[in-house]
Each structure stands twice: as C-alpha cells, then as structure tokens.
Amino acid sequence: MNRRQIRLGFIMSAVCVLITLMLPLPLAGTPVAALMARPLTFLLTGVIVLVFAFAAGFRGLPAIVIGLVGAGITADMTLTLLRDPLIAGDAASGFWVVVIGVWLASWISVVALAGLRPRSSIFRKAIDLAIPLLFGAAVFYLWEVVVRGAGVPPVLLPSPSAAATKFMASLPILGADFVQTFIRGVLIGYAIGCGAGLLVAILAHRFEFLGRGLLPLGNFFSALPLVGVAPIMVMWFGFDWPSKAAVVALVTFFPMLVNALAGLQAAGDIERDLMRSYGASYAQTLIKLYLPAALPFIFNALKINATLALIGAIVAEFFGTPTQGIGFRISTEAGRMALDMVWAEIALAAIAGMAFYGLVALAERVTTFWHPSMRT
C-alpha cells in the first residue's frame, strides 16, 4: 500500500467520524444529530477529525503514530457512548459508522506499520511485536463494541470486558482450578509421558530390533484418538489428579517416542565414526552426540505435547473430578448458563497454555541455538 492510499484511508476515517454528526446514534430517543446534544462528545469529534487530518498530512512513522492515537481516542469515545443506556444494545447507524472509522484507521496503521523497513534491529523487533498486538486489540475492540452495541444476549456471547471483570472477581477459584488441572494433572503427566517416551526411544535406538518394531507401532498409536482412554483411567486411578496425569502421560508418550527416535537417528555417519575413533563408550556417545543431535526433534515433540497435555487433562475432567479443575468448572458453569465464568476459565487455560508453550520455545532457543532453523 503506497503513501497516497494510506493518506486516503485516514481521510476516510475522518469522514466517517464527520458523517456521524448527521446520523442518529440510538434507534430510539433523539432522532437526528444526536451528537449535537452531547457537547463533550461533539467537541471530541472535532478533535478526532483534526487528529486524522494531521495523520494524513504526515508520512512514515509519525503518520502511523498519530493515526493510532486518533483510533484510540475514537475507540474510547465509542466505549464511553456505550455507557449510555439509550445506546447500549440499541445502537444505530451513526454509532456503527464511527466504529467503521476506528476499524479503518487501525487497519491502515497496521498495514503501514507492516510496510516499514527500519534499519535498527530493536526497532524491527518492536514492530514485529506491535503488529499482532494491534491486530488482537482491534479484534477484541470489535467484539466488545458489537456485543454491547447490538445487545447480544450474554448467554450467547459475553463481552470481553464482562469476562475480564469476572476473571478478576473470581481469582481464588481460578487459582484453585489452575493448581488442580495444570500443576497437578498437566505438569506431572507431561513430565512422566515425555520422560518415558525419551527413555524408550533411547532403548529402541540402542537395540535395533526393538526400534524396528516400535517405530511403526508408535506411529500407529500417535495417530489414534488416545484421549478416549480417559474413562478407563478415571476407573483405574480415581477421580483426583492421578487419573488426569495418567491420561496426559499416555497422550504425550507416543509423539515423544516417535520424534525422539527420529532425532536419535539424525546423527551423521561421520560424527559417529569420529566418536568411535575416540574410543567413546555408548554412554559418552549418547550424551555428547546422539542427544544433542536429537534436541530439535525432542523440542518439536515437547511443543506438540504442550497443547495435547492441556487437552488431555481437560477431557479427563469431563469423566469425573473432585469439585475443582478447569474442565469441571467449564462443564458445570456452562450447564448453569454462566458464560462469563466459562470464558474466564477459557482465558485462564489459554494464558496457561501460551505461557507453557512460550517456556518450551524459550528453552528450545537457549539450548538449540546452533541449529540452522534458529539462525534467522
């Protein structure tokens, strides 16, 4: 997108906000020119138009920053307007035109931001981080505005702010659920499953006969819907966390076995010959050659397993739990139609999952910095 298009985009945003002056905001109540009746909002509209005009006048980074400030002020104005009971749930064309203006301005800014080619690497990293964050903020803003403006019943879809409020209000419950599901079920099962998978892979690599038999079997099992064993595990290990850990261990075992075995076989012939010419024992070769060579594959499995583990633990909770845990809370609260609590639990699970994945990815970055895929 070239400079002229970006300028046109900002001008269009300003026009959107200007049009609002002539359109009705709520469906009922003051019919036309509703903004005229609110002096403060009216003043704000003028400021916003000026800011967008400024953004259109500049180029490069200043234009983007000014445009984002304009989008931010406009978004804040729409959220303030939504506090008015006349508008909330009953918004009319004028309101939606402003929202379109916000969307346009933020979209243009993100596109322009993606088009920048900064020289300094810190700056480039900041932009790489800012683009998805801005995109996400825009998505959450639209969700909030549509839910509150159009009056979507909270039973269908609660607004993000409602879920966030519920999240903050029920931190103790969420904390207990987190400990039950994540610390006890997921982490313990993950450690057992991945550890056992790695050990068996090393055995299978040491004894070729075992490896040739286990590899097709492992491939077969890792393609099966293994979470289905959850009811059996609940029967064997009871309702509390051991059954969840058992499901997680089983689900994570086979991906680790298959990947680690492929990784152990990735060491080259030359390196192996070198170790032999040094007279290295098997243990030395394993620690100094095979395991480091297998690390990228092992981390691949660890990453796949990070998501599988969370899913396994939550599914196992559907088959019976003590009165705690993310899966338990979700199914009971969904039954009571308390969807804001359900979304708060989902947010908790998502944050925990992302943090878990992020930690694994960080560990990968620290330990396999030498691998070609890490060089970029």
Partner: protein
C-alpha cells in the same frame, strides 16, 4: 526354485515385519498378564461372597471372562467389537457401525470445513505480508486455547440459534484440524525457490498464474502430509465434542455411557472402533496421495 529356509529368512517383508510381530506378541502377553493381575481381587471377591469353593484354574478363567473387569482380556475386547459390528443391524442403537457412522459424518464434514478454511487462510497469508505478520501469531495462539473447553459453549450457543446435531460437532473438529493444514500449506506455497519465482516473473506471470502453475503443484506433498495429521485430529475433535454435550449416538457417547455404567468392555470396543476408523481414514488419504503423485508424474 524351492523356497529355502535361508531365502525365507532374508525376504525383505519377513525381515521387516519380524520385530513388529514380536513386539505386538509381547504386548498381548503383557496385556493378558495384566488382565489376570488386575481382575484377580475382583473375581476372588466374587467367589468369597458366594462362599463357594474355587480352584486356581477357576479363578484364572474368571479373570478372563469377568462381566465388568477392570481390564478386559484382549479376546473379550475383540469379541465385543466383532459382536458390535456384525451382531446387530447397522441402524440398531447397539451397533458399533451405527455409532461409527455418526462420528464419521461429523468427522468428514469437520475435516472438509477445516481443510477449506486452512487452505484459504494459507492463501491469504502467502499473498499478504500484513496478514502474515498480524494473523500468524494469533493462529498459533488459537491452538493454545483448549478448544475442547469451548465445546460445551459451542453447543449451547449454536443450539440457541437453532443449530443442532452434526454441525456443532463438525465446527469443533474443523477448528482443530484447520491448524496443521494452514501451517503446512503456508510452508508448501512458499516452498518454490527464488529461481523458480524469478522465472515466473520473467514470463510476467500474474500472481494467479504463479499460484496455479507453480505454488499449487509444489504445495501438493505438503498438503497431503498435513491432511493426514488433520484427519486424525478431526476424528479426535468429533469424538470429544460428543462428550460434554450428552450426545445420544457416536463413539464419544458410547465412551461416556460405558463410563457411567461401568461397562468396561463397551469402552474398549468403542476405542477399537475409533482406532479402526482412524487407520482407515489415514489409509484413504494415503491412497489419494499415491494416486495424485502418480498423476503428477512421480515415480513410485
């Protein structure tokens, strides 16, 4: 020429399958021993309640044929599976074929939706730098959200709009299966090397021509690799979507009912059905892959 013993032993098929057969045999033996050990106290308790005298042989036989064992013996599972498949009319509610079909239809619809969404997203990402940088992190984040947690809400929300039955389950399995396809296809669409792309440019090919003549053909191997992953994931999605929703039919419903009433053999035979379904689906995708590769001129 008569087949000598030596030739028999070095035949590639025999050589390759020996370890597999050996390990499977060991596993079955371990399973039998496990069944005996786990069911022993259960069966002994039964005998002692009736205060009937029993021998060790009777005890062993009891562990092999218990009604509700902790771990059913392999032959019990296979028997229940065969009985479930062939013992009833395919439309009877006790037939495994019936339940498999319910799950299979949700799986296939979800797989089709997921594949479509995955390919469209990959196309958008490959053609737009902005989308690549803004959407990609969120696509990865989307998989961190345990979608199975969302399943009950999905059913509630879609039920409130009036959608019931197949579609909510398929949406869950589509949500799970689009991810590997998007990731694989982005890799596939960007796999042509710069020289090939430059050649297309020297011919002043439009981006649509580049897509149909260069990007698509080079993405086909990636497509099938990710389709194989996606189809098993969408089966998992369909099964799990049946769990929290109280579905009446489907493999997930069989699992749930089995766990409610302690029918372990029913759970195990449902698991076997899921395994058969999964390997069948993978085999079909694999067959399609070979056929397409042949049509594209690959040597098998």
């Amino acid at each position: 020429m008569p087949v000598t013993r030596e030739a028999w032993r070095t035949h590639p098929l025999v050589k390759r399958s020996t370890p597999l057969v050996a390990i499977v045999a060991v596993l079955i033996v371990v399973w039998y021993i496990g069944a005996v050990l786990m069911n022993l106290s259960l069966v002994r308790g039964g005998f002692e309640r009736e205060e009937a005298p029993y021998t060790t042989m009777e005890l062993l036989e009891g562990t092999m044929s218990a009604e509700r064992p902790l771990l059913p013996a392999p032959h019990q599972v296979v028997g229940a599976f065969i009985d479930g498949v062939f013992g009833y009319a395919p439309t009877a509610p006790r037939s495994l074929v019936y339940h498999s079909m319910v799950t299979l239809s949700a799986t296939l619809l979800g797989f089709a939706l997921g594949a479509l969404l995955g390919i469209v997203l990959a196309l958008a990402i490959v053609h737009s730098r902005v989308l690549e940088r803004s959407l990609m992190p969120w696509i990865i984040c989307s998989q961190m959200v345990p979608i199975l947690a969302l399943a009950p809400i999905f059913i509630v929300v879609l039920g409130a709009i009036g959608l019931q039955g197949l579609l909510p389950k398929s949406i869950i399995s589509a949500y799970l299966s689009f991810f590997p396809i998007t990731i694989g296809m982005v890799k596939g669409f960007t796999s042509p090397d710069p020289m090939q792309m430059d050649l297309m440019r020297t011919w002043s090919a439009t981006s649509r021509q580049v897509l149909s003549k260069l990007r698509w053909p080079s993405a086909v191997p990636y497509l099938f690799a990710s389709l194989k992953v996606a189809i098993t994931i969408s089966l998992i999605g369909a099964i799990v979507a049946e769990l929290p929703t109280g579905a009446e039919a489907g493999i997930g419903a069989r699992l749930l009912a089995g766990s409610y009433y302690g029918q372990t053999i029913q759970i195990w035979s449902a698991l076997v059905a899921a395994a058969v379904l999964a390997s069948g689906l993978i085999a079909i995708v694999g067959y399609a892959e070979r056929k397409v590769a042949q049509r594209m001129g690959a040597r098998s």
